[in-house]
């Protein structure tokens, strides 16, 4: 009896084994944002239609610091699956890409990728380890066009004009600025999206900051972002549930006119298209204004990348899928799914003529010379991990801006030491 069971088990195992040789299942990990999931589902479905022997299992991970932790732990325990969607820039560098991610310099799709993206997924040894997933983003402020029309407001070019608009909106009994500290990462925008204004005032800030020569607390231009957070709170412009509201609430508020402004990256447009399609053209966008109307420009984020963990057992299949994502067809499929949320980093991938209002507001910054600057996390490998808690504190009136900037400098120092950068030891 025992022998018969054993033989039956052996037979069962060999059936399973032969089935798995014929079909490859690629496991994909992405963040849980509606637009990421929609794009990934569309891409994998199209790829499986063309290659019936390759199927996908998509798993969603949390965003923010929880997501960073999960990705790092899985990579180091070699359990990160076959394809990983994750930030480019400084967060990519913190993954130790030379150890954890496969070299994608040689894959076919890389020929289509613009150099500006390659530079933010290049490991310390000069190899390219990712391909772009999604469109380049602007960091700035969404505004509700109906409220602006109703109150006769115009798009602000300086921070003072922005605050004057807020005052009028508040006087009209509306919420001027939506903030969503329930998702702590969303609290960083006023600081991070201010980087165009920082570099306009101090062109060498990124290099000096990386070399331990420039600090947030002692650079007035860099401090301004923290000050903005404090000012908006103190003036009472926020939604009453700012401490508990989440990203999805912020998107809803600005899309449906519950609030006039929401500081956010333009990837949120995908979310508006998925959840509030009827309001898509009620939402406009402007760059975070600085002190000088003549120097008004946009802070730009590179999209997240797709990577292949070094430990993946399906390197060839995963690379072929990534080449498809980096093709013009893959790019067009993403535009079809989420709408045109910004310029793509793929050669020959053009945006359609009828883009949503917020994208139409953003595109002029990209077309003119010197109107955009990359966010600091693409110019320096150091981003302090506690920034999102510190910005929640400033934005909730718990800690004054100057003290917060000094605190963030300490956090930055810790990260620089962990990365083993020169000039910090």
């Amino acid at each position: 009896m025992k022998q018969i069971t054993g033989a039956a088990l052996m037979a069962a195992f060999s059936v399973v084994a032969s089935a798995s040789q014929a079909d490859t299942v690629l496991s994909v990990t992405t963040d849980g944002n509606a637009e990421t999931v929609a794009a990934m589902e569309a891409l994998t479905a199209a790829y499986t239609a063309a290659h019936p022997d390759v199927t996908f299992e998509i798993e969603n991970r949390p965003g923010g610091a929880d997501g960073d932790n999960l990705v790092k732990t899985r990579l180091s325990t070699k359990e990160a699956g076959d394809i990983l969607q994750y930030n480019s820039g400084s967060l990519f560098q913190a993954l130790k890409p030379t150890e954890s991610l496969a070299d994608l310099s040689g894959i076919a799709g890389q020929a289509n990728v613009l150099d500006s993206f390659k530079s933010v997924v290049t490991a310390s040894d000069g190899t390219v380890r990712g391909i772009p997933f999604g469109a380049a983003m602007g960091g700035g402020i969404y505004y509700n066009k109906k409220i602006y029309a109703e109150l006769g407001l115009s798009v602000p070019k300086t921070w003072a004009e922005f605050m004057a608009n807020n005052e009028k909106i508040k006087a009209a009994g509306k919420v001027a600025v939506a903030q969503t500290y329930g998702d702590t990462w969303s609290s960083q925008l006023f600081v991070l999206a201010d980087y165009y204004n920082v570099q306009a005032a101090v062109p060498a800030f990124a290099a000096d900051y990386t070399a331990n020569k420039a600090k947030y607390a002692t650079s007035p231009a860099a401090m301004a972002g923290f000050q903005h957070l404090e000012d908006v709170f103190k003036a009472g412009y926020l939604n009453p549930d700012f401490g508990a509201a989440k990203f999805d609430d912020g998107v809803r508020m600005v899309a449906t006119g519950e609030a006039a402004h929401y500081p956010m990256l333009t990837f949120a447009l995908g979310n508006i298209k998925q959840n509030f399609a009827a309001n898509l053209n009620d939402v406009g966008f402007f760059a975070q204004p600085g002190p000088d109307a003549a120097k008004n420009g946009l802070t730009v984020w590179m999209p997240a990348g797709l990577y292949i963990p070094a430990a993946s057992e399906h390197q060839a299949e995963a690379k072929d899928f990534l080449s498809f994502v980096a093709s013009v067809d893959g790019c067009n499929l993403m535009i079809k799914t989420n709408g045109a949320t910004g310029p793509y980093l793929i050669k020959g991938c053009e945006l359609p003529a009828d883009v949503p209002a917020a994208v139409a507001d953003m595109m002029p910054y990209f077309k003119a010379e010197g109107m955009t600057a990359p966010a600091l996390e693409f110019l320096s490998p150091i981003k302090g991990p506690a920034l999102e808690q510190i910005t929640v504190e400033v934005g909730s009136g718990i800690r004054p801006a100057a003290e917060a900037a000094a605190l963030y400098d300490q956090d930055v120092e810790k990260q620089a030491k962990q990365l083993g950068l020169p000039g910090w030891q």
Partner: protein, 286 residues
């Protein structure tokens, strides 16, 4: 003369291997890793730098104070209210068995589930707590978004969730007290209150020791409920030692977070070891 055990020593081998592999080796290894700059791939020895860095951590002091407040508040409330509840539930009340079950039920529910549920109930504008208060025209506070209040709101939920266990331990302790003492006290003319103070409280001491020790240790290393409800926020205002450590781990500072864990281990040991020794000694005196 000590009698030789009839069993050979290698009977302990299976348990010994499990204990060594899963407890001893990681404990020793963590002392080593706490002195390195570790990124899970390479570990560079840096001596006590992680410890100096950890003590420089700006939120460490607040986290430490919060940990102590949280541990003392929850263990104090659990032992006092747990005893009162146990006395009530052993007094021959109608439906006593059912009420005991009800008071124990929250213990069985997942802590994360409880945390997420209460976070929804305590939402400043849409939560049931503040909607209820609004019925009476009271504008409820931001239970979890007010930095002054967040830690106490979590401690309240911890109490709700953990009091059932304390009550069960006290019920067992009360059952162990001989009725003769109460009879003697009644003959001497003691009131119910005197019986409680002079008979119940001293004789239920073994249960008190268990409840205080368990809930104090639980409070000192509490993490899951806090993380599910506020993630130490808003900002850093409900951070405790364990969440400060976890955030270092989250950020990829593995050596630093290991150093933090060593410190937490030493802290719990220095508080709990003398305490149990003191409690046990008093028990012998009685």
């Amino acid at each position: 003369m000590k009698r030789k055990s009839p069993y050979p020593y290698w009977f302990v081998l299976p348990a010994g291997v499990v204990f060594t592999v899963l407890f001893l080796v990681p404990t020793v290894a963590s002392f080593w890793f706490s002195m390195t700059r570790w990124d899970l791939y390479t570990a560079e020895f840096i001596g006590f730098d992680n410890y100096t860095q950890f003590f420089k951590e700006p939120f460490l002091i607040q986290g430490l104070v919060n940990t102590l407040i949280y541990a003392l508040a929850t263990s104090g409330a659990k032992s006092v209210l747990g005893l009162l509840l146990a006395v009530l539930l052993t007094s021959g009340l109608w439906g006593q068995g059912f009420l005991r079950t009800v008071s124990f039920f929250p213990v069985l529910v997942s802590t994360i589930g409880v945390g997420i549920t209460f976070a929804v109930l305590m939402h400043p504008t849409k939560g049931i707590f503040n909607l209820f208060l609004a019925q009476f025209g009271i504008i409820g506070p931001g239970w979890l978004t007010n930095p002054e209040l967040a830690l106490y709101s979590i401690a309240f939920v911890d109490l709700w969730k953990g009091i059932g266990l304390a009550t069960v331990i006290y019920i067992a302790g009360l059952a162990a007290i001989s009725q003769d003492y109460y009879e003697a006290a009644r003959i001497d003319g003691a009131t119910r209150l005197q019986q409680f103070w002079r008979v119940t409280v001293p004789l239920v001491r073994p249960a008190t020791v268990t409840v205080v020790t368990l809930s104090l240790i639980g409070g000192l290393r509490s993490f899951d409920l806090i993380w599910a409800m506020t993630r130490g926020g808003p900002g850093f205002s409900s951070d405790v030692l364990a969440s400060v450590i976890y955030k270092q781990y989250q950020a990829g500072f593995y050596g630093l977070s290991t150093a933090g864990n060593v410190i937490l281990f030493l802290l719990i040991a220095t508080i709990v070891l003398p305490m149990t020794w003191w409690f046990n000694r008093r028990e012998v005196d009685l």
